[in-house]
């Protein structure tokens, strides 16, 4: 199959799908014997991306795959298509989401501990209904509280490929000089983590690569280092 046709097929499928397609999904468009190698698909995607330069849309890779999207700088005009204003989210919702995003997997109790207030069930439910957050297991402590993590849909929605692309968490200022004891208190992260690692997370086949990686990465995020993310992350998993 010639490269031109492959490119057109990919382009057409991405537009027709109206949602991100990963490489595996793109491969599935071709009959077995005509399916181009991954390299060629990637090359085609790069070309498609290049073709979008200077146009009203772009090819973007998010967590679930590639999608065409209308450029952000056109939002002012494009949003006039809809009379409804995009929703605003409450601070409680955003703070809860932030905690889940940066600290996943964690329980509702963990969230409440940081926020200092009870987390309403409504918020958790809304986040789950939006498919931004899901239960990935249960912590092995009395009551078996559910452990929450973000979904690929969350990443897609916020236009990023993986959790590392979240804005870095601000750093905690050192209080150590005030008191040596405090150092312990401040490295609270690690304290939390050890707690977590003792709690086996119930295996959940849906637990995607990204959430597992994301978990490891959140400490790195504290250090603000951007680890490279790979295509494999996307090609590895099937989206629903």
């Amino acid at each position: 199959m010639n490269a031109e046709l492959i490119k057109k097929i990919i382009e057409g499928a991405l537009l027709a799908a109206g949602k991100p397609l990963d490489i595996a999904r793109i491969e599935s468009l071709f009959e077995k014997d005509e399916c181009p190698p991954r390299d060629q698909i990637r090359a085609a995607l790069e070309e498609v991306e290049a073709d979008c330069r200077g146009r009203g849309f772009e090819l973007k890779q998010t967590a679930s795959g590639y999608r065409f999207q209308v450029r952000q700088d056109l939002a002012t005009w494009v949003n006039r298509l809809w009379t409804e204003k995009p929703k605003r989210y409450s601070r409680a919702m955003l703070e809860t989401l932030a905690l889940i995003a940066y600290r996943q997997p964690l329980t509702r109790g963990d969230i409440e501990q940081v926020r200092g207030v009870a987390v309403s069930s409504d918020i958790i439910r809304t986040l789950q209904e939006r498919d931004w957050v899901r239960v990935v297991g249960f912590r092995d402590v009395p009551g078996k509280p559910a452990l929450y993590a973000t979904t690929k849909n969350f990443l897609d929605y916020f236009n990023i490929k993986n959790l590392e692309q979240l804005p870095a968490l601000s750093e905690i200022k050192d209080f150590a000089e005030l008191d040596p004891e405090l150092e312990l208190a401040l490295s609270g992260d690690s304290g939390k983590d050890s707690e977590k690692s003792s709690a086996p997370v119930a295996a959940n086949d849906e637990a995607s690569d990204s959430s597992v990686e994301g978990f490891d990465l959140q400490q790195q995020n504290d250090g603000a280092d951007e680890e490279i993310d790979t295509d494999d992350q996307i090609s590895g998993t099937n989206h629903e």
Partner: protein, 286 residues
């Protein structure tokens, strides 16, 4: 009580009067912290008397005691690390007292925080005993840790809110898909699934005991289907044509039983125009 309330407001010199509200939460700059009787309240009222409504809304503007504390600290342009616990405590207590005085339903967390602050304050006031290295921790440490931690995620929440968002800042591009030729894909079914389903439904219907025998006559039932097939047309079919001698005696018996069953269930009509004449069979309706 009133003295405390005053102290709540007295150290607000750093901020011009109209900013307090606007900057209550850096996250939501444009938001006044309260609306009272349709009026935007951008400043924590300076007078002693805060209308109960306003206070309620004021409280609602905060995401909890940590948020309120952060506000109190930031309002003085203080760094969390430098907080004067005594000062903060008295301000905090001022608000709590005010809220309680108007019987505002106060979340328990606010009271817990009040207790914690009071404890820290009292420990700070105690003369420092140099007894045990390990025992000598700054009582503020835990509070500061929590405040910092909370502030981080408050900031992270703002950052997330700022991120380009599908449907607000960016939009999924779609084009009309090519015409589809409807090609139905059937799921695969394992016979065991069918049987499990049957077992379930029968168990539910509690039919095993009473209907077992009847239901096992599958060959008859299958033959009934076949006979009905032959009788698809509107015409009468000779009775004898329903039998195939090649099937042997048993085949004949099965067919006969099937026809009897069909008659019993009023599915076929059977006629004989004269004694010993040919018998004809026809489907009852179609």
């Amino acid at each position: 009580m009133s003295i405390q309330a005053t102290s709540v407001e007295e150290n607000n010199p750093a901020q011009p009067s109209n900013t307090a509200g606007g900057k209550v939460h850096p996250a939501q700059e444009e938001m006044p912290f309260a609306m009272v009787q349709g009026k935007e309240l951008t400043v924590v009222p300076k007078d002693l008397y805060i209308p109960p409504d306003a206070l309620e809304v004021f409280l609602e503007a905060f995401e909890g005691p940590l948020d309120l504390l952060l506000y109190l600290i930031r309002r003085q342009n203080l760094d969390i690390l430098e907080i004067n616990v005594a000062e903060i405590t008295s301000q905090y207590m001022g608000y709590i007292g005010l809220m309680e005085s108007i019987q505002l339903e106060l979340a328990a967390e606010y009271l817990v925080m009040a207790a914690m602050l009071a404890e820290i304050k009292s420990r700070m006031l105690l003369p420092r005993q140099v007894v045990d290295e390990e025992d000598e921790d700054d009582p503020r440490a835990e509070l500061i840790r929590r405040l910092q931690e909370y502030e981080r995620f408050k900031k992270a929440a703002d950052d997330i809110d700022e991120m380009p968002r599908l449907g607000r800042d960016i939009h999924q591009a779609t084009a009309h898909a090519p015409e589809r030729n409807q090609e139905v894909q059937h799921p695969t079914v394992d016979m065991r699934e069918v049987l499990t389903a049957l077992a379930d439904v029968l168990r539910r219907a509690e039919m095993f005991e009473s209907h077992q025998v009847e239901m096992e006559k599958l060959s008859t039932r299958e033959r009934m289907t076949k006979v009905l097939d032959i009788l698809q047309g509107e015409q009468f079919v000779p009775f004898v044509s329903l039998f195939k001698l090649s099937e042997g005696k048993l085949g004949v018996v099965v067919t006969f039983l099937a026809i009897m069953e069909l008659i019993k269930e009023s599915l076929v009509e059977i006629v004989q125009s004269e004694s010993f004449g040919p018998i004809h069979v026809k489907a009852r309706t179609s």
